[in-house]
Amino acid sequence: MQGTYDEISSDILSRVAQVKLDMAPSKFEVLDEEGIFKLLHFHPVSAEKYRTPVLIVYAFINRPYVLDMHQEISVVQKYLKAGFDVYMVDWGYPSAADRFLDLDDYVDYVDRCVEHIKDRKGVEQINLHGYCLGGTLSSVYTALRQRNVRNLILQAAPINFHSDNTIARWARALDPDKIVDTYHVMPGELLNQGFLLLDPVNLIIGKYEGLLDMMESEEGIASFLRMDWWIFDSPSIPGETFRQYIKRWYQDNSLVKGEFEALGEKVDLKNIESPVLVLAAKYDHIVPPESQRAILDLVSSSDKDVFEISKGHIGITTSKDSHKEFWPKVIKWLQKRSERRAGHNGHNGHNGDHA
């Protein structure tokens, strides 16, 4: 772009001001609320073909609508169109008043959601899809309540926290106590600054320079702004949760060592026997692929696989490319392993094609 600062910034800001940001296209209802936690149920867009519902558990960093940001890049829509009944956990916006929520409360709410869905649908098992730390929570939950989980999908989920990337080094050296004692939560703004500082030249200059390059495309600007809106829509993390997350997961690596406890029990990932699919992002600078794949050596499942894509931690979900082949492949994997409803595709009972 050419011009003085005044000219360029006015031009950009006036274009930005005119763009309409339609977000989260899938309609949903809130089925359950527990403080700031909510269970969302998405309205179907096609006939329900599978008895086994899907519960999506997102991380407690950022917001879950990244999986349903726009029609073209909506993972939720992919599941709905494939004929699944889809649910999602929303962890809300914790404030200082929620500072005492800890990881146990998060795992406990996943359990509550699973029981709620089981009762509602009259099924014994659900499919669990965990993204990022939501994947870590899902692994913990499955290890504790394997009987409730038919298939486990882990997307960019950290399991081995002793990786050698910058964020892991920072987290291992961090003193979470002081942050929690001072702010009572880990403020979202501080988290964002940390993420940006991992690679300021590319994540700031590189990214926004990209915006300058796409100023002629209204859709380009809209999709950039949707993404940027989501990135900075970052709730704080409750103090106790943050304390445990840094100490027990990053510093002690307790999950891999089998030393982590939740719901009053030791979490042994060997208890996971259901089919496990790891969705790994090759260029993930937040959770390196080796940290994501670590689960495969720790579970007892005989049916386990990794689908890797040359994207980053978020691009795995939001890139248009990944919705062309990668996500359809994931859906197919789950369809094969989910229980079909009677009358669909000639199957009447358990296991669908997989059996």
Binding site: S10, S14, A17, F100, K178, D199, Y208
Partner: protein, 374 residues
């Protein structure tokens, strides 16, 4: 006409600000500035190629100094924030101490007595509020008459980043003064309390006084690490550009070389144990300062037990209790649901057994049936 144009621009700035997350607004406006300074560096290179890495570096310095400022403004803000409230008094203290000895910034150079400290603190806080009020006022004035030759871009070095002050400047000018004035007056009232100073106030002041110089030093070290890496990367960039047969034909090529070199240098810095140590120490000391300041405010409130303030510690204790009760309630609800489920199973089994016996012509014996079900 020009006035209308300016008004339209302000309006769209404000609309964009409303539409965006504040961070996006910050980074978009700063990236435009960075983009233009990079273009300026590229223009200088095209105009005078082959100057050699040393001269190229010198020529680029002013432009890259601005880029550095824009890029790291958000990250280095804590450094500036930690210095802002007490900077003046610290300077005064260390200046006074330097007259008698070669003092460095240490607790020893700070006020020798608690009472003096308290005096400095109160005056400093008042000064801080006055400074804020005057900053807002200046921005308001700036809005009215922009100084000739002043770049619009320069505005974003100040409070402009916090909100579209071109619109809000006037409001800030008129309203904020009163707000800060009243804050200042309330501080004066605090000082005049009829109660003794709580001991916790003095102890936290002592903590603040001892952690502040440390935080100040660490802030300087932290920023120095960014600066030296930036300088190193700029020298490398100048050398690499000079190695080529001429300036890059396209700006994009120039830009890509810049991002590659700077990104690599910063990647090395940010993952290094030295940087991590300084970053953590700085954060930790910074938090000590913030926590002490918060405790001091809380201790001040203790001087006014008749005022309807609930302190942070009281709230924390209440919230902990509530959370504990909520957990207990959840677990009881869960147990009740489980018991209801079991009870339903027992009832169904009883009914089933009754029907079976009835079909077989047996007499009903509920006690016996219950035993069977168990």
């Amino acid at each position: 006409m020009a006035e209308q144009k300016e008004k339209d621009k302000s309006r769209s700035n404000f609309d964009a600000y409303r539409q965006l997350q504040s961070e996006s607004y910050w980074f978009i406006t700063r990236t435009v500035a960075i983009h233009n300074w990079l273009k300026e560096a590229y223009r200088l290179l095209r105009e005078k190629p082959g100057l050699g890495p040393g001269v190229t570096y010198e020529t680029w310095m002013p432009a890259f100094e601005r880029i550095y400022g824009h890029l790291f403004a958000a990250f280095l803000q804590p450094c500036h924030m930690i210095m802002l409230p007490l900077e003046e008094s610290l300077r005064a203290q260390s200046g006074a101490a330097a007259d008698t000895q070669n003092a460095s910034l240490s607790p020893g150079t700070l006020p020798g007595t608690y009472l003096e400290t308290l005096k400095v603190w109160t005056e400093e806080q008042s000064r801080f509020f006055r400074g804020m009020a005057s900053a807002f006022q200046q921005v308001g004035e700036r809005t009215e008459e922009r100084l000739p030759g002043r770049r619009h871009e320069d505005d974003i070095d100040g409070l402009q980043d916090m909100m579209p002050l071109r619109l809000l400047g006037n409001v800030a000018d008129k309203e904020m003064r009163f707000l800060f004035q009243s804050l200042e007056e309330s501080l004066y009232c605090f000082k005049e309390s009829q109660f003794f100073l709580p001991k916790s106030l003095i102890l936290h002041l002592q903590k603040l006084v001892s952690s502040y110089p440390k935080a100040y030093r660490l802030a300087q070290r932290y920023e120095a690490m960014f600066r030296s890496t930036w300088d190193k990367a700029l020298r490398k960039f100048a050398a690499e550009i000079d190695k080529g047969s001429g300036p890059p034909a396209e700006f994009k090529e120039f830009y890509n070389t810049y991002t590659r070199i700077f990104s690599k240098e910063f990647d090395q810095l940010l993952g290094s144990p030295e940087f991590i140590e300084v970053q953590n120490s700085f954060m930790s000391t910074n938090l000590d300062v913030i926590l002490s300041m918060r405790k001091i405010m809380e201790a001040r409130l203790e001087m006014f037990p008749y005022l309807p303030f609930v302190t942070g510690s009281e709230m924390a204790s209440l919230e902990k209790t509530v959370h504990g009760h909520k957990r207990r309630l959840d677990s009881l609800e869960r147990k009740m649901r489980e018991m209801e489920r079991r009870s339903a199973v027992v009832q169904e089994s009883l009914e089933l057994e009754r029907l079976r016996r009835s079909v077989n012509g047996h007499e009903e014996n509920p006690a016996r049936l219950l035993e069977v079900v168990k």
